[in-house]
């Protein structure tokens, strides 16, 4: 297996979240819209209509290119790509052929590595996946084929949605890396705010090309079309990698590209068409839209519009003392990272609390993050963690207060007062509880004395329970040990 080499390249289509469509003024947000309610003469390709390019979509594409290190040619143009299908009203798609808005570029895929078994220090390793180009085009409509009917339905709400196509070089070496690339890219798109980049909603779709090499021989190139989740990208490629490897003996001498689809239910790919049947798209320059040029100044203005990118944020977090894996986790959830940043100081414990507790709490309370954030601004979390650090409350109580804050929006101090949740560090009060519990469980005391010291956990649990978790753990441990050991002495 090790002498097989896998080569993967991806083509990613990403819907841009512009206000209006690519070439007309129709609303670009088709979510939950009635079929064919967001259409006009232009996107229906009525006779005489002309496309007018959406400036904001072009700017988003160039910003993406700048963020990914692409060259931005001073002149670019649109072309027509022809094919007949009912989801394509004009009989051609306006796309870009030989002069895309962005050329080259790269995406860094990173891996967290632990130094070795004895040294748990973490560092980030990166690999660069080169991009070939990024171009802009329009999406097609949607066809549905009602079961048992002799017709199909066409919905053109999506026809004309701006679609940015990102094409990689064949630099990806494994299905897992392909998935990682997709994740990095999605994150960058979210940070650039050019797309919601939700794969489940079809904002991002991926065509994956894979071939296997061995002993100077190459398998045919397989293109797997329309993968719409990270998992499917990896699954489909892994299936194909395995299939091609097993089929090594039967690799043909000469073979063009083969298109396969992916059945996500069965987790397998299936053949769709071979190259010889492939269409001739008859590209030529779109005569209705003059070539588009950008001056150096305009490009620089767009560069200034780019806020922080994931890598920069991660670096900032790590430099502030946040552990690498926590920083990584937060950066991957832009809303949480931004939430953390609303704090006056980037602290590790705060970062940990946000990355672990906030997501869980939101899921449990079934509320929107926006709603959560108005109830619990990050300063309240910082206050809460300070109270823990000062020993006024335990971590367990802190969690209870946190949940209460989500419901009532009160500040921690008020909740503590209201519920009497201050930590019990008073030895007298704790001693009486310990005495009580020890008295009630003579058999366990026996066990402890006979050497089964793990029963301590049971006592701690019981004591915490009867103090509603308010017992100061350090004081409790000390007193309990004295009590148990005292009896044995």
């Amino acid at each position: 297996m090790s002498d097989f080499k896998t080569t993967i390249g991806l083509e990613i289509h990403c819907q841009l979240k512009t206000k209006s469509k690519m070439f007309c003024s129709c609303d670009n947000n088709a979510e939950n819209a009635e079929p064919n309610s967001l259409v006009c003469p232009v996107c229906l390709a009525m006779p005489g209509t002309l496309p007018v390019a959406n400036r904001s979509a072009i700017e988003m594409t160039i910003m993406t290119g700048l963020a990914l290190g692409c060259d931005i040619p001073s002149e670019s143009k649109f072309d027509r790509k022809h094919y007949f299908y009912p989801d394509l009203p004009k009989g051609y798609q306006i796309s870009q052929y030989d002069k895309p808005f962005c050329k080259g570029g790269e995406v860094e895929v990173s891996y967290i590595r632990t130094a070795n078994e004895t040294n748990s220090e973490q560092r980030i390793e990166t690999r660069k996946i080169r991009l070939n180009r990024i171009h802009l085009e329009e999406d097609a409509g949607k066809l549905t084929h009602p079961a048992g009917k002799d017709y199909s339905l066409v919905d053109l709400n999506r026809a004309g949605t701006p679609l940015m196509e990102i094409v990689t070089e064949p630099d990806i070496t494994s299905p897992a890396e392909a998935r990682q690339f997709m994740e990095e890219l999605q994150l960058a798109l979210k940070y650039l705010k050019v797309s919601d980049a939700d794969m489940e909603k079809g904002h991002v779709r991926c065509d994956a090309n894979i071939s296997i090499q061995k002993d100077g021989k190459s398998s045919p190139i397989i293109e797997i079309k329309n993968l719409n989740s990270f998992k499917f990208v990896e699954q489909a490629l892994a299936f194909e990698e395995k299939r091609l490897t097993a089929d090594f003996e039967n690799w043909p001498e000469k073979m063009g590209k083969i298109t396969r689809g992916f059945d996500s239910n069965k987790g397998i790919t299936f053949e769709q068409r071979r190259k010889e049947e492939a269409a001739d798209y008859r590209y030529f320059p779109e005569p209705d839209i003059p070539p588009i040029s950008f001056s150096e100044t305009e490009i620089n203005d767009l560069r200034l519009k780019i806020k922080e990118l994931p890598k920069q944020k991660q670096k900032k977090f790590i430099e502030a003392g946040i552990r690498v894996d926590v920083a990584e986790k937060l950066v991957r959830q832009p809303h949480l990272a931004e939430y953390l940043e609303t704090s006056t100081q980037l602290k590790h414990d705060l970062a940990v609390f946000i990355s672990e507790e906030v997501t869980r709490a939101i899921a449990e309370h079934q509320i929107l993050f926006e709603e959560y954030q108005t109830k619990v601004p990050v300063t309240k979390i910082a206050d809460l963690l300070n109270l823990v650090a000062e020993g006024i409350i335990s971590k367990t109580v802190a969690k209870e207060i946190f949940y209460e804050m989500i419901v009532t929006g009160e500040v921690p101090a008020d909740i503590i007062k209201k519920k009497g949740l201050e930590q019990v560090s008073d030895t007298g009060e704790l001693e009486s509880v310990i005495n009580q519990i020890v008295k009630e469980n003579p058999d366990l005391v026996e066990k402890y004395r006979s050497g089964k010291i793990q029963v301590v956990g049971f006592f701690v649990g019981k004591i915490m329970q009867s103090t509603s978790g308010k017992a100061n753990p350090q004081v409790l441990n000390k007193l309990l040990k004295e009590k148990l050991d005292g009896h044995s002495a």
Binding site: P41, L44, A45, M46, P47, G48, T49, L50, P51, V52, A53, R80, H82, F84, P86, P89, K90, G91, Y92, D150, V154, D280, R282, Y283, F284, P287, D288, I289, P290
Partner: protein, 493 residues
């Protein structure tokens, strides 16, 4: 007051402002004229007289209030049937759009309506404007008012014939390779092909997008200037429209043309030019000289390549522009017939397009699909694009020296109906003098220059520099003030 249909815009506008006549009166006169001559001419595909009457009434009120919207207020116009008109059938003279009713108005239609013009209806053209005779129409050919056995030229033959036969005061046409100028020449009208992008194409059914222009066909250069003031200018809905500030085109009327430099490109006067046309052109040029213009022979060597270059690009773009007519969303479709006879999607496409496109449209699709195919693109489309740049440069250079260039519009006068229909190549060659102007992108006007011994009109083509419509109008208007060719009317038998 008799025969109001004969008025020019200039005359009508003066009388309307003076309160001597009303728009409704002009309209009724025109309607009567249309009903009388249409059986001989067949210009109109769709007549919208009821709309026109309502519009004329509104116009009459404005004149009573002393508040006309423009010099075109109350003036009846005929539109080539490729201009989308909201709620009014727009066919492009094709079976595939025989019942098509647009949901929106073309930008120029909107501009004319806002100027108070009166919509008489939609006039004939070659299907999708592809042709030079108006014979390629799903609604039958239009006849030349000067000799009804002859073609009016094309593709704006309906527009030119309607103007010549006084079935409107002016018409709008489109010109992709001569489709305004050649019919204007054949019918003795004054027709202007504008600078590419001067008039919005939004809402006008496309033939070849990078050549298509919209322009007026009228009774005089002065009328052309009035119309141009209304229809020219940038349109946010057409990215190819010009952004420059435009002059008042009527300011070029009534000028002295002494010292104007006129180039005579010799390539347009060679083989194939009829002796009579040559003679008429030479006389016209002499006339201009007598008015003080300086005339000089010059050369545009790339002219010989223009036809080949033009037809490659035009048919490539046309094949693409016709792709939308699939009968799925609108237009002629077997979905409206016996559905059990449709095998599958491909079968539906083939049936719809085979049954509803005419021969020239089909020829365009085949030629254009071929020239854009992978493996042929470089030899045809790309090479043609290079020649196009060459032609463009040649005209730019020429206009560094000359104010305008003058050539015949067509090498011969109007030909017989049916004469060239079965010989597409000779039909293409009818455009030999008009075609080079479209890749050059510059404006050119067809101006009545005289008549043959058998009484057929001959036009001269005045070509101007980029956005030099004013220069052309200046020369044409001076010529028309000194001649009477444009005033002569046909006797319709």
């Amino acid at each position: 007051m008799e025969n109001l249909y004969k008025l020019t815009i200039q005359e009508a506008s003066t009388k309307l402002k003076a309160g001597e006549i009303t728009s409704s009166k002009i309209l009724e006169s025109i309607i009567e004229r249309i009903e009388k001559v249409e059986p001989e001419i067949n210009s109109y595909i769709t007549k919208t007289f009821e709309i026109a009457r309502a519009q004329a009434k509104e116009s009459d009120k404005r004149y009573v209030d002393g508040k006309p919207l423009s010099d075109l207020d109350g003036i009846p116009v005929a539109l080539k049937d490729v201009f989308c008109t909201k709620g009014v059938k727009t066919t492009a003279a094709s079976k595939i759009l025989e019942d098509f009713i647009p949901a929106y108005d073309a930008t120029v239609v909107e501009k004319l309506e806002n100027a108070g013009a009166i919509m008489l209806g939609k006039v004939n053209t070659d299907e999708f404007t592809m042709g030079s005779s108006t014979e390629n129409s799903a609604f039958g050919p239009t006849h030349n008012p000067w000799d009804t056995s002859r073609v009016p030229g094309g593709s704006s033959g309906g527009s030119a014939a309607a103007v010549a036969a006084d079935e409107c005061l002016f018409a709008l046409g489109t010109d992709t390779g001569g489709s305004i100028r050649q019919p204007a020449s054949f019918c003795s009208a004054t027709g202007l092909k504008v600078t590419y992008g001067l008039v919005s194409r939004n809402g006008v059914v496309s033939y070849a997008s990078s050549f298509d222009t919209i322009g007026p066909i009228a009774k005089s250069a002065a009328d052309v200037a009035i119309i141009l003031n209304i229809i020219a200018g940038n349109d946010p809905l057409d990215s190819t429209t010009v952004k420059e500030k435009l002059p008042d085109y009527t300011s070029f009327l009534g000028k002295d043309i002494k010292g104007k430099k006129i180039g005579i490109p010799k390539e347009f006067y060679g083989q194939g030019l009829s002796a009579e046309v040559d003679k008429i052109l030479k006389d016209a040029i002499k006339k201009l000289e007598s008015l003080g213009a300086e005339v000089e022979e010059m050369s545009l060597p790339s002219t010989d390549f223009a036809i080949a270059m033009y037809y490659i690009i035009a048919k490539s773009e046309a094949s693409s522009n016709l792709a939308r007519y699939d009968g799925i969303r609108y237009g002629y479709s077997n979905l409206k017939k016996d559905k059990t006879k449709i095998k599958d999607l491909i079968d539906l496409y083939f049936k719809n397009r085979t049954e509803a496109f005419g021969n020239e449209a089909k020829r365009s699709i085949m030629m254009g699909t071929y020239t854009l195919s992978s493996g042929y693109f470089d030899a045809y489309y790309k090479k043609a694009s290079q020649v196009r740049s060459l032609i463009k440069r040649e005209y730019e250079d020429a206009f560094k020296k000359y104010d305008v260039l003058i050539t015949p519009v067509s090498p011969f006068p109007a030909f017989k109906i049916g004469e060239k229909l079965e010989d597409p190549l000779s039909m293409y060659l009818a455009d030999v003098n008009t075609v080079p102007i479209n890749p050059a992108g510059v404006p050119a006007m067809s101006v009545p220059a005289g008549f043959t011994s058998t009484g057929l009109p001959v036009g001269m083509q005045i070509i101007g520099p980029h956005l030099g419509e004013g220069k052309i109008i200046e020369i044409a208007d001076a010529f028309q003030r000194a001649t009477e060719h444009h005033l002569k009317k046909p006797e319709i038998k």
